[in-house]
């Protein structure tokens, strides 16, 4: 197997990277018809597997779960999830030969093994569905030519996919058809029907490609979504403790602050987040974030380059082969950081205080979102994709930090994201060392507005606002958010 993307001529590389269309709701008028009466077999019954299956069945489709013999005999969690919800369960041998659509919802790392085990049983002309394209694009797995290969990727955790469906809504979803495997031209119709079955069509659907999904997903998760949130959290916490702020307060300000701050992002983008600050604080946050962008831009570019060239996948797969040696060591080290080990203090922090006392965090988030977006777009990824993989997902990931800090974030995200997150974090901290020596508690830990009269220069404020508001992530974001205004707000504070 060799990296699929690297086998393509440049023209085709750009062609596949540049696919991203926001689909009109009229594209989904046929509902689930294309899959009605067909046999859908889901491989794997974890959070995504179970919740997607529940939605599909409630949409009138025929669902069964294929599990490995050991999972069935050992009555493992996947077996329990499926049987206790009254789904038929069987081995690959029993169920795959009957299946019209085989849905692979196992973890990335198992894809090659699972697909190789399943493929011999798949009937002529059937369809294989992925929710992440790593296996196809980075590992270059070749699927039998008579099989149609599609992707439907709900952009939320499994429990959210279910919760939104029963509310009568859905979660934003990305769909794609693999151009090497669409022998009958039915891929798109089936992907759309599947999307209706999970409720995704109500919340906005992006038509993408396997290549665009993988390259943008990897970039987003390594840099802004996980990497920068980890770096920013640790540096902010350490700085506060260094400057004598109570550790319990510092821990709480960071843990819940990322969520409260990014909640504003979800509703109105960077503009709304920056508008939560006073005028003086906004101008300061703008200056700090510009400086951060300058410092971090080369690192963002390196990550994008390594993702495009396949270098990232190569070293990560080396680590898979070495039994996750680096991943496990880095995971353990994260668990030992002072931020992770200091419980949030029993102090009340008001909603506005999370902004006023954490100007540095706001600056980190603006810098990270804009850099990730800009770097992706420069690399040939469409702005719509870049928006989803940067700004859109930031609040969802921040929510996991609010729940149980970095450990929880790294538990919830995929191993691939986790690996990339540590890579970024280790390179980013030394890069920011000089910058951090200048940071005082007015930027993190105390109210920036304290002792200031709030006066600003009109023209300075206007030009700052102009730069923030006219950024492409804001214009494309405003358009895409209109389609998903009803997304449930995530609150833990």
């Amino acid at each position: 197997m060799s990296n699929y993307f690297n086998t393509l001529p440049l023209r085709e590389k750009l062609n596949q990277l540049g696919v991203c269309d926001f689909m009109d709701s009229s594209e989904f008028l046929d509902g689930v018809d294309a899959l009605k009466g067909k046999k859908l077999v889901i491989v794997g019954c974890g959070a995504q597997g179970l919740n997607q299956g529940l939605n599909l069945r409630d949409s009138g489709l025929n669902i069964a779960y294929a599990l490995r013999k050991e999972a069935i005999e050992g009555k493992r969690d996947s077996w329990k999830n499926a049987t206790e919800n009254n789904f038929p369960v069987g081995t690959y041998e029993e169920l795959i030969p009957e299946a019209d659509l085989v849905i692979n919802l196992t973890p990335d790392k198992q894809h090659t093994a699972v697909v190789n085990a399943v493929m011999p049983f798949m009937k002529q002309g059937s369809t294989l569905l992925y929710s992440h394209g790593f296996n196809i694009v980075e590992e270059g797995l070749q699927v039998r030519k008579d099989i149609t290969v599609i992707m439907v990727a709900p952009k939320s955790p499994g429990s959210e996919v279910r919760a939104e469906y029963v509310r009568g809504f859905g979660v934003p979803t990305l769909i794609a058809v693999h151009p090497e495997n669409d022998p009958e031209g039915k891929g798109l119709v089936q992907a759309k029907a599947y999307c209706v079955g999970t409720g995704g069509h109500k919340a906005g659907v992006l038509k993408s490609s396997f290549v665009a999904e993988v390259k943008s997903d990897l970039m987003g998760e390594q840099t802004i979504l996980c990497g920068l949130l980890q770096t920013g959290s640790i540096l902010s916490f350490d700085k506060m403790v260094e400057k004598g702020i109570d550790a319990g307060y510092a821990s709480k300000l960071v843990q819940y602050g990322v969520e409260v701050i990014t909640e504003a992002l979800k509703h109105g983008g960077i503009t709304a987040m920056m508008d939560r600050l006073s005028n003086v604080a906004k101008i300061k946050a703008f200056e700090v974030s510009e400086e951060l962008k300058t410092i971090m831009r080369p690192l963002f570019q390196k990550h994008q380059d390594d993702i495009m060239s396949g270098e990232f996948s190569r070293i990560m797969m080396e680590d898979w082969a070495a039994g996750d040696k680096n991943l496990l060591a880095w995971r353990a080290a994260t668990g030992e950081t002072a931020f992770e080990k200091t419980p949030a203090g029993d102090v009340k922090i008001g909603e506005q205080e999370y902004f006023d006392n954490a100007l540095l965090m706001v600056a980190f988030i603006r810098a990270g979102v804009e850099l990730a977006f800009e770097t992706m777009v420069e690399a040939g990824i469409k702005p719509e994709s870049a928006y989803y993989e940067s700004l859109h997902e930031t609040p969802l990931i921040a929510n996991t930090i609010a729940r149980k800090k970095l450990f929880e974030m790294n538990r919830v995200i995929s191993d691939t994201a986790e690996y990339g997150c540590y890579l970024f974090d280790h390179a980013c901290k030394p890069l920011l060392a000089d910058f951090m020596t200048k940071v005082e508690t007015d930027l993190i830990g105390k109210n920036f507005n304290e002792g200031k009269d709030g006066a600003v220069d009109n023209s300075a404020l206007i030009s700052v606002n102009e730069v923030i508001r006219s950024h492409e992530v804001e214009t494309i974001g405003a358009e895409l958010r209109k389609a998903m205004t009803a997304m449930k707000s995530i609150k833990t504070v």
Binding site: V32, K36, G37, A47, L50, N51, L54, R57, D58, S59, G60, N62, K80, N81, E84, N85, N86, S159, R162, A163, V166, R167, G168, F169, K202, R403, K404, A486, K488, S489, I490, K491, T492
Partner: protein
């Protein structure tokens, strides 16, 4: 005479920019147990929350605890519904999550919750076990919180409150969702703790009260007025308006049989919650579904509303189609209207009254799409019919309970459904409101709509009810025609 326990002078309180309480004065002396009545939105809850220090107010509230008492020196407020959290300390649950098998492990068991509560307040666990038994709750001690029905959550909340034994216990709608027997048990437990020194303030419009209640008051016009025991509040008569034209025609039922269940069984592990249920609801029939807390009513309804995953493993038909034969839950929901405590808890808190009513067209718990012109016009007609015009742009959850229930009824009937399922729609309403609500149900169902109505109290039922099914421990205890008995 010793100083009063609570002494309130000139209490002012605003709720969402509206003045609720104004110059309210109230003294609670030792040995007194009060009942607070008042129409929905009058400010009963606000007074109690102010005493407990849970809301901001102006004016003075002096509280004098007995420092020699062994009871906790606390004015403890018990809300009208139980909000539980998952193991990560969140209460981000979603509608019908309790039927998702995977979700169970995310919440604690009743036992673990009580152990934790006892540890926090240094209480003796044996007492909790006694209370659990007294409220008929012991079978559920190893269930997880998310599996409990609304009545069962209420019981858990009551156990915790009674166990805590504060010097002043203020309970908001303590009888909500409780069946008759449980209400009696609760009353004897309240009498018991009162005899042991806890003073009570009950907020309720119910009639069957513990005998220890010795003072009565009504909140009206922002102030507290002491009344006698038998006093019933005076209410304004509701205007009678004609039913909107679009609802006067009966819904078209293509099937004679709306619900048909053949030996339906539901179990969670070893616990069987429904056993061999056989039940048929024919088009146009008006049914009353009754049973004790935990008898299986809400599970039975969740099968009909398409919300229970085990529906697929049972033999039953809805609207003449075998369940699981290729229909989606949205095909089913389209043909029925539902009000239930759960639906209300999980409803989108950012929806206005008008948006909530329109969402009935789409069966979603909030409005997520653009309604067309006809849909908006029909919503306007209904808003007029239910007298909700002045509230139409208010957030649903800021409406007084009685109005909120009317708005939910409007949401339920806006699409003129074949089947109306009303699960305890009068919970928490006063007698007058319940009567008004039920009269509207009678009027709306007279066009041939099929009705399944769940209600604990015989006095609060629509007149059109003609049949009754009684569940006991998950089994059908009796099915009868009750035309005469009401």
């Amino acid at each position: 005479m010793s100083e009063p326990v609570v002494h309130i002078t000139n209490l002012h309180l605003r709720y969402h920019h509206k003045t609720v309480l104004q110059d309210l004065n109230w003294t609670i002396n030792r040995g007194e147990n009060w009942l607070l009545r008042g129409s929905s939105g009058s400010g009963k809850t606000s007074v109690a929350k102010a005493i407990a220090g849970l809301v901001k107010f102006e004016g003075d509230i002096d509280i004098n605890f007995d420092l020699h008492s062994s009871l906790a020196p606390v004015a403890h407020y018990v809300a009208n519904w139980y909000q539980f959290k998952d193991l990560e300390g969140q209460s981000n649950f979603y509608y019908q999550q309790r039927y998702n098998k995977q979700a169970e492990e995310t919440t604690a068991t009743v036992r673990a919750e009580l152990e934790n509560y006892g540890k926090n307040y240094h209480l003796d666990f044996a007492e909790a076990e006694r209370l659990v038994t007294a409220l008929g709750f012991s079978d559920l001690i190893d269930s997880t919180l998310i599996q409990l029905s609304s009545g069962e959550h209420k019981k858990l909340q009551l156990v915790e409150a009674l166990w805590f034994r504060p010097q002043l216990l203020m309970m908001d709608q303590p009888y909500n969702g409780l069946d008759k027997l449980s209400r009696q048990h609760l009353n004897s437990l309240l009498e018991e703790i009162s005899a042991a020194g806890t003073q009570l303030v009950l907020i309720s419009n119910d009639k069957d009260l513990p005998s220890c209640i010795n003072r009565f008051a009504e909140i009206k016009g922002g102030q507290l007025h002491e009344t006698d025991a038998g006093h019933t509040a005076h209410f304004q008569e509701e205007e009678n308006r004609p039913v909107p034209e679009f609802l006067s025609e009966g819904p078209i039922s293509l099937a004679d049989s709306i619900v048909k269940m053949n030996n339906v069984n539901i179990s969670y592990g070893d616990k069987q919650v429904l056993k061999n249920i056989n039940w048929e609801v024919k088009a146009g029939e008006k049914w009353l579904l009754q049973g004790h807390n935990g008898s299986g009513k809400s599970t039975l309804l969740s099968l009909i509303t398409g919300d229970h995953p085990q529906a697929y493993a049972n033999d039953f038909s809805l609207f003449g189609h075998r369940r699981g034969s290729g229909e989606s839950i949205w095909d089913i929901k389209k043909r029925m209207g539902l009000i239930s405590p759960e639906l209300q808890w999980y409803f989108d808190p950012s929806a206005t009254v008008k948006q909530s009513i329109i969402s009935g067209f789409f069966d979603s718990s909030g409005l997520f799409r653009q309604p067309n012109y006809t849909q908006q016009m029909q919503a306007n007609e209904l808003i007029g019919y239910f007298g909700l015009k002045e509230y139409q742009d208010t957030l649903m959850n800021q409406l007084p309970l009685g109005k909120q229930r009317l708005a939910f009824l409007a949401r339920t009937i806006i699409k003129n459904p074949e089947l109306l399922i009303l699960d305890e729609p009068c919970q928490g309403l006063d007698q007058h409101q319940a009567q008004h609500f039920n009269e509207l149900v009678d009027e709306l169902c007279s066009n041939g709509t099929t009705l399944i109505y769940v209600g604990h109290f015989e006095s609060q039922l629509p007149a059109c009810i003609e049949k009754r099914i009684l569940l006991e421990n998950g089994e059908v205890k009796s099915v009868e025609t009750i035309l005469e008995s009401i």
